[in-house]
Each structure stands twice: as structure tokens, then as C-alpha cells.
């Protein structure tokens, strides 16, 4: 079974406490429609488990298939260094059908981020290396498409509908307690 090879680190984008019973890692692509569906489901899952769950999001843009995915990932990383990763992540998924520089600048303005700095970061590919590092780590961990989830470090090969995800997480919680 595929397992997460890159441990959760300070550079990661995390929601939820470190002491949570279960860590859910998502490798996602902002242009992937399945990730768009998963975005809403993961929010429900987070609501369901509250502080018992920690969520980590990592980039896995399938650029050949989704030409806007890489830049969108860089936009989220740009917001991330200014403490607004999740706000940008959410807004990108909520506006998935409008990905492009017009949207990015509009969102930056909404989040009170410098549009000039964002434009520059995209132009100079400032966050490309960061996004590639996520991608490469994902490949090494057996990410096999988007979205790919890891529950406590084990790749979740089942479907990502709400019921399946929560039952898999419950199962991991059971395992966590007995070990």
C-alpha cells in the first residue's frame, strides 16, 4: 500500500491541531473538477470531526491536462507566505471555472494582497519550485491522480464521497487508539 513519504512539516498548509487523532493529507489541483467536488466534501468532513482531524493540502497540478493549474497553485502559495493560504485556496476552488490572471488579481485585492507583487511572482515563477517540490513528493508517495488522499499516512484508494471518507477516517481513529 502506498504511504506518505514526505512527513508533515512547518512549510505545510495545515488546518486543525497537531494533536488531532487523524491527519488527512490531500494532494490537489485547482483546475481538476473532482478536486472541486472534494473541496466541498472535505469541508463537511472537517465539520464532522472538528478538532479530531487535521487537514493538510499539497499541490499536485496536472499541468499537461490543466493548463491553469500550475499558476493557480503558485497564487495560493503566494497568499500562503502572507498567511492567507486557506482563504486563497477556498476562493480558487469556489471560482474554479474562472481560473486566470483576471481572477487571481481580483482575489488578491479581495484578500488585501498586493496585486503588483502577485503579478511579479507569477511572472518570475517565484513559487514554481515550491509547487514542484509538492508534486515530486506526491509522486514518491504514490499519488495517482487528483485528488489523492492520505489518511494517517496511508493512501486512501476508495472513493472520496462523504460517507466513504468519514468511515475510512473513523477506521483510522480506531487503529490509532489500539496501537
Amino acid at each position: 500500500m502506498a504511504t506518505l513519504k514526505v512527513p508533515i512539516a512547518v512549510e505545510d498548509h495545515v488546518q486543525g491541531p497537531e494533536t488531532a487523532d487523524v491527519t488527512l493529507v490531500e494532494y490537489g489541483d485547482y483546475e481538476c473538477p473532482y478536486c472541486g467536488q472534494a473541496y466541498l466534501i472535505v469541508q463537511q468532513v472537517q465539520k464532522h470531526f472538528g478538532k479530531r482531524l487535521r487537514l493538510v493540502f499539497r499541490n499536485f497540478p496536472l499541468s499537461e491536462m490543466h493548463p491553469a493549474a500550475e499558476a493557480a497553485a503558485e497564487v495560493a502559495e503566494f497568499a500562503g507566505v502572507q498567511g492567507k493560504f486557506w482563504e486563497m485556496h477556498d476562493k480558487l476552488y469556489e471560482n474554479q471555472e474562472r481560473l486566470g490572471e483576471v481572477l487571481y488579481l481580483e482575489l488578491a485585492e479581495k484578500l488585501k494582497l498586493s496585486t503588483t507583487a502577485l503579478h511579479q511572482a507569477l511572472e518570475q515563477r517565484t513559487f514554481e519550485a515550491r509547487v514542484r517540490a509538492d508534486f515530486k513528493g506526491g509522486v514518491r508517495s504514490g499519488v495517482n491522480g487528483t485528488p489523492t488522499f492520505f489518511i494517517n499516512g496511508h493512501r486512501h484508494d476508495g472513493s472520496f464521497d462523504f460517507e466513504t471518507l468519514i468511515s475510512a477516517i473513523h477506521q483510522a481513529m480506531g487503529t490509532a487508539k489500539s496501537v
Partner: protein
């Protein structure tokens, strides 16, 4: 490489895919409607053979699309990636164009699945290839092989590890 012919439909290996240490059976298959590719022409560099059930899986990031994204990582090892399914060359052509694939898809089409059978990677009941991966060393020996449950895209971690483990 063994000079076993692709036209030999009899499975030379039953009960699982060819293991590491075996000689990779040579073959010649259509890579486009008017061009063929012969495995032994690639001697001298590692080859990744990815057998998969069918073109047009209805998901984002299906196995071939994923490998397409990872191609630069494979090329760092000088490795050549070949996708193989029983779909015909015209089907592969349309699929490759649609997904912007930058590596060859081989048509194990006539006699159907003959090469897959030689590698022990044919699902006779379904009439398609297994989701089976082979990493061949530069001498055409199988260095690593893996058969994934047909519904599970195996990803690329095993391939990269096998490439890394090849003698330099």
C-alpha cells in the same frame, strides 16, 4: 532479449506477471497506424512498460495522464516509457492527442493481447491488459515488475524506486 514472437498467442507464463530477473520478451507493435516499434531497438537504456486496461478512463489523472506529467522524472534516468493496451493504433492516436501524451502508446491489438500474454499481463476474462508495470534494465532484463489491482492506479513511486535501484 528473447526473440519470442508477438504472434505467438500461447501464454509462455501463467500465474502472474513475469518477475524480476526474467528476460523481457521482445516484440514489435504498432505505435501509430503506419509505424511500429521494436523493444530490442531500445537496448542500452532502461524501459518502463506500462500495461493498462484501456484508453479513455473517465477520470482526471488516469494512469497514462499521470505518467505524462511525471515524464521528466523518468527521463532523468534516461528511461523510455511505453504504454501498452489492446486498443488499436487509431484509438491510441486519438487518446494521445486528447490527453497531450508525450510518450508512445503501443497497440497490442492483433493478435489481441499477444504481448500482454507473454508478460503474464492479460486478463483473458475481460479481454484487456492487467495494470502491470515492468522496469527493464539497459540489457532488456526485467529489473522490477508489479501488478496492481485493476481498479487501482498504481502511481509512479514503484517505477521511480526501481529506476533508482538500477545498477549505474
Amino acid at each position: 532479449m528473447a526473440q519470442s514472437s508477438a504472434s505467438n498467442v500461447t501464454p509462455i507464463h501463467s500465474g502472474g506477471i513475469l518477475p524480476s530477473g526474467a528476460v523481457a520478451p521482445n516484440f514489435t507493435l504498432h505505435v501509430t497506424p503506419d509505424q511500429t516499434l521494436t523493444l530490442s531497438d531500445l537496448l542500452g537504456r532502461p524501459v518502463i512498460l506500462a500495461f493498462y486496461p484501456a484508453d479513455w478512463s473517465p477520470v482526471c489523472g488516469d494512469q497514462m495522464a499521470l505518467y505524462n506529467e511525471i515524464l521528466p522524472e523518468f527521463r532523468k534516468f534516461g528511461a523510455e516509457l511505453l504504454g501498452v493496451s489492446v486498443d488499436g493504433a487509431w484509438c491510441h492516436d486519438a487518446f494521445a492527442q486528447n490527453r497531450h501524451l508525450h510518450f508512445p502508446l503501443l497497440a497490442d491489438f492483433e493478435p489481441k493481447g499477444a504481448v500482454a500474454r507473454q508478460y503474464g499481463a492479460y486478463r483473458a476474462a475481460d479481454g484487456v491488459c492487467e495494470r502491470a508495470l515492468f522496469v527493464l534494465d539497459k540489457n532488456g532484463m526485467i529489473a522490477w515488475s508489479y501488478c496492481s489491482p485493476v481498479a487501482v492506479n498504481p502511481g509512479a513511486d514503484g517505477i521511480l524506486q526501481a529506476l533508482e535501484d538500477l545498477p549505474k
